[in-house]
């Protein structure tokens, strides 16, 4: 047995300057989560975190849509049913009823892990100090203004603003 007097390093004193920027470009339920989970983890580690929502990712922050993202097994050969490890044959994936069923199943699996739905997840990210940015071009394409967006969104900014503000950041495109 060794005797030590060590304390975990929490990097309090040094401003590491680490910054993370995540571009969320997908609006499918399954693709909304990676960005949210990583942003939440980074904030919990004291990392300055920015989320930039663009193209289909806009559905994550449009008030009327954010709570209603869908998951489709169509085109996703990695989707297995939770029982029996069966894959859904791709020919059946576009059938009526498949998407609601798959969405319901995925939502349940996520909820069973105690992971929140998208709107609540964004709320947590905001409370943890995360920044949410909406893409100018996507806003114009969708004809939406700040009034249509989740109230936690900091601003609608253009691509150049985003590049400027994420100077020195680690970037993830999802």
């Amino acid at each position: 047995m060794t005797e030590t007097t060590f304390v975990p390093k929490f990097d309090d004193d040094e401003d590491t300057g680490r910054k993370l920027a995540i571009i969320c470009s997908k609006g499918n339920l399954d693709m909304a989560y990676p960005g949210l989970i990583l942003a939440n983890a980074a904030l919990g580690e004291g990392v300055e975190t920015h989320l930039f929502f663009t193209f289909w990712g806009f559905d994550m922050i449009i008030k009327e849509r954010m709570d209603d993202l869908k998951f489709s097994p169509s085109g996703n050969t990695a989707m297995h049913l939770p029982v029996g490890d069966w894959r859904i044959p791709q020919a059946l994936a576009p059938m009526p009823g498949m998407q609601p069923m798959a969405t319901h199943m995925l939502k349940k699996q996520i909820a069973d892990l105690g992971v929140p739905e998208v709107p609540e997840f964004l709320e947590i990210i905001k409370a943890s100090g995360g920044k949410l940015w909406a893409c100018r071009m996507s806003a114009d394409m969708n004809h939406v203004t700040m009034d249509d967006l989740y109230e936690g969104v900091d601003a609608i900014i253009n691509a150049a603003d985003f590049i400027e503000m994420t100077d020195g950041a680690q970037m993830l495109f999802i």
């Binding site: 975990p8 990097d11 919990g44 105690g114 409370a127 943890s128 100090g129």
Partner: protein, 104 residues
């Protein structure tokens, strides 16, 4: 497992310094651990630590930050103020528990 001395008491810790034996902890030790990482304990801090301790006892794992907020009824924003930058790890350290393993 390494052993470290805190407040003149020998406690078992992991490679990073997190305590590994639940029953070696008491509030006095928790106060000393807090001092080591420059957290000034108030009643609000203790409320969070007490939740971690009791939740670990029933669940067998250290609660994640979200669980402290939802099941423990503590405001997320406030937790970041009480335990700056890395609230989940700091709370676990002060509570004498392993780091949380959950992702969310």
């Amino acid at each position: 497992m390494p052993v470290t001395t805190i407040e003149g008491r020998e406690v078992q810790v992991d490679d990073e310094g997190f305590m590994t034996v639940y029953d070696e902890w008491d509030e006095q030790l928790g106060g000393a651990l807090a001092k080591l990482i420059d957290v000034d304990m108030t009643d609000e801090h203790w409320k969070a630590i007490q939740f971690l301790r009791s939740d670990f006892k029933t669940e067998g794992v250290t609660p994640t930050l979200r669980r402290v907020s939802t099941a423990g009824g503590l405001d997320m924003k406030r937790l970041f103020e009480l335990f700056p930058k890395k609230p989940a790890k700091k709370m676990a350290y002060i509570a004498g528990l392993p780091k949380p393993h959950g992702c969310v």
